[in-house]
């Protein structure tokens, strides 16, 4: 596993744990214990059972016939949209709530952008009867009001992040401040493959079930475990890392990570971190982030709240730097068109995040025999108002 983390928590030049001393004991406790906990038989049994009976896994790998005809290749959709709560976020939330229980934590905090991770966290906290506080940017609370209501209905307290730009990065800052102030009884469920080590590794492992299942399912469908291409969208990068994880060492599989270009990479309103970012430190890890010359974090933009993040996870930064995966980008308009296309060719309304991955198919050239897997990371119900506004339905 040459693309995985080393003992110091680094992926090549990226990763580490750039945290204030106040968080050191929390992060150190996790670092020392998480591996033993998540590889324990009883843990695995409970995780597997919940994945099957509660989340509804394995999620299907669906051969999308009409999309395949259109693009001249065999296009498979990994249906994370069919999971309970509607996205891949639940995989990590289940893993971390089981971990938090075993660490004896009494209170859960989380950050959320679009609200998908917040809903997943509120869900698992309800499942386990644990107190839940979700930080969400004040602006995101306005534009994702239905998810705020869902979290409240599930019993979570939603706290508005009113500092800075009042979006995902500020929600993350507020969650970290909460964790600093409540170091002993609280576990922070980070929703993506970001943050100080061991979070990027831990979240990737919980999400790696996506590629583990895909390999088996692809073998059933095609007689081969390995596809020619794997595509996924990237904000912080958790669905992409889960989708790539078990293919990383299969160098012949081309991995394509699709970032949000927003209004266009050079428009000043973009979230294409791999193009616009430079190496630096964000939310506890050394990675690639969008920043000013002076090292201030730049506020990104994407129509998709889930991709609206100024950094990428450290493992993505590494895969980008060593060119194991190709990082490309798609604009708001291209993603919305792709969302409409997938809806009308396959009868599946994708989340705008996932639609970014579909949009990149337009820019690729295939052989007829190519097998292509796309991670359909979430369903589009939450994005209906955005789609309606754009297309004027």
């Amino acid at each position: 596993m040459k693309y995985n983390v080393n003992e110091q928590g680094y992926y090549g030049d990226f990763g580490g744990a750039y945290i204030p001393e106040m968080l050191y004991p929390n992060v150190e406790e996790l670092r020392q214990q998480y591996n033993a906990i998540i590889t324990d038989e009883a843990f695995i049994a409970e995780f597997d059972q919940l994945m099957k009976d509660y989340v509804g896994r394995p999620s299907p790998l669906y051969l999308a016939k009409r999309l395949s005809e259109k693009y001249g290749a065999n296009i498979f959709l990994k249906r994370e949209d069919l999971n309970h709560t509607g996205s891949h976020k639940i995989n990590n939330a289940i893993g971390q709530i089981l971990l938090a229980q075993r660490l004896g934590k009494k209170r859960i905090i989380a950050e959320t952008g679009a609200g998908q991770h917040g809903v997943a966290t509120a869900t698992v906290c309800a499942l386990k009867g644990i107190e839940c506080v979700v930080y969400m940017g004040e602006i995101d609370m306005e534009r994702q009001a239905p998810n705020v209501a869902r979290m409240k209905m599930l019993g979570a307290k939603v706290v508005a992040a009113t500092s800075g730009s009042k979006t995902l990065k500020d929600a993350t800052n507020e969650a970290m401040r909460d964790w600093i102030n409540n170091p002993i009884d609280t576990h922070y469920i980070i929703g993506s493959v970001v943050g100080p080590y061991p979070y990027p590794e831990m979240v990737a492992r919980f999400q790696s079930i996506i590629s583990l299942e895909t390999k088996k399912q692809l073998l059933e469908h095609t007689g081969k475990e390995l596809p020619e291409y794997v595509l996924a969208c990237v904000g912080g990068g958790s669905n992409a890392m889960g989708m790539f994880y078990h293919f990383l060492d299969d160098e012949e599989v081309k991995l394509i990570a699709v970032e949000a270009a927003g209004k266009g990479v050079n428009s000043g309103r973009s979230a294409a971190t791999s193009v616009l970012g430079r190496e630096g430190i964000l939310h506890g890890s050394r990675t690639i982030l969008m920043q000013t010359d002076d090292g201030q974090v730049v506020e990104p933009y994407s129509i998709s709240a889930g991709l609206d993040y100024p950094g990428i996870g450290p493992q993505h930064a590494h895969l980008h730097k060593v060119q194991r995966a190709q990082y490309v980008n798609i604009t708001d308009d291209e993603s919305l068109e792709a969302g409409l296309l997938v809806s009308q060719l396959e009868g599946i309304i994708p989340a705008i995040e996932s639609a970014h991955a579909f949009a990149y198919l337009e820019k690729m050239k295939f052989e007829k025999t190519d097998n292509v897997v796309i991670c359909l990371s979430g369903r589009g119900d939450k994005d209906l108002s955005t789609y309606i506004k754009h297309f004027g339905f």
């Binding site: 580490g16 001393e21 106040m22 500020d170 800052n173 401040r177 506890g284 002076d294 090292g295 974090v297």
Partner: protein
């Protein structure tokens, strides 16, 4: 041996340090405030270089950082302003901020520039010990810049010993595991913790910070440590009218 070492050699008790954010409340207030604090009797100073995402700070210092950035403060400008630091201020001065701006500036270049303008030490809460030791220690040492580590109530004894080894001026003891801007709780737990640290007989002097905003807290902290740091309370004070003339009054209020 820098100004910090000389200070701690000469004075063992009741040291007062004051924190403020460079470029706040106005872009050119940095040196004026530093000078006024020295005249008012502060023993050393911490000048914050602002960052957009200060996770270890409470609302007061977050606000001052954002205001400073809006005012146009950045590291290049700060070092320009600090060029006249040593014509006007003689007490030790530390720079305090987050890792990313320093890493973007270049840590070696940062330390060289800091030494050139007469800065004595740096406090970077999110620069971990491992990265300091493996990547940056030589830059700090080459320019005789002290790196200050934080210790919290949750820091394990072995780690405190390691911090004591790596420190060469003082250790910054947090009164509680919290973000800045709280109030020092004079609880038994806090006193047990202060006493535990005192009894460790560390090589480096101890200065207590976080939640020191009045005389009672200052007196309590300095009864266990060599000194105490006032941060948020002073930053809050800087938003008041005629703050510059009233700095002696503020310092007297803390010191008595």
């Amino acid at each position: 041996m820098n100004r910090l070492n000389s200070l701690f050699n000469q004075k063992k008790n009741n040291l007062l340090s004051v924190y403020f954010t460079a470029g706040y409340p106005t872009i050119n207030s940095t040196i004026d405030i530093a000078e006024a604090l020295e005249k008012a009797g502060a023993d050393f100073l911490e000048i914050g270089f602002p960052y957009s995402d200060p996770v270890a700070d409470g609302p007061t210092i977050q606000h001052s950082s954002q205001q400073a950035l809006d005012n146009g403060m950045n590291l290049n400008l700060l070092f320009e302003q600090l060029a006249e630091l040593r014509q006007r201020v003689s007490i030790p001065v530390l720079l305090m901020g987050y890792a990313n701006p320093m890493v973007q500036y270049g840590v070696e270049r940062f330390c060289a520039k800091a030494a050139e303008v007469g800065v004595d030490g740096v406090i970077v809460p999110d620069l971990p010990m491992y990265e300091y030791e493996t990547l940056y220690k030589d830059s700090f040492a080459n320019h005789n810049i002290s790196n200050i580590f934080l210790v919290t109530p949750q820091t394990a004894e072995a780690r405190i010993r390691k911090i004591d080894e790596l420190s060469n001026s003082f250790i910054y003891l947090l009164s509680s595991a919290s973000i800045t801007g709280g109030n020092l709780a004079l609880s038994d737990v806090t006193e047990t913790y202060f006493k535990r640290i005192k009894d460790m007989e560390l090589n480096n002097p101890i200065v207590i910070g976080f939640g020191i905003g009045n005389k009672a807290a200052f007196d309590k902290a300095t009864s266990y440590a060599n000194g105490a740091i006032v941060g948020s309370a002073f930053v809050k004070f800087l938003a008041e009218d005629n703050y510059m003339e009233r700095i002696p009054e503020f310092v007297k209020g803390i010191r008595g």
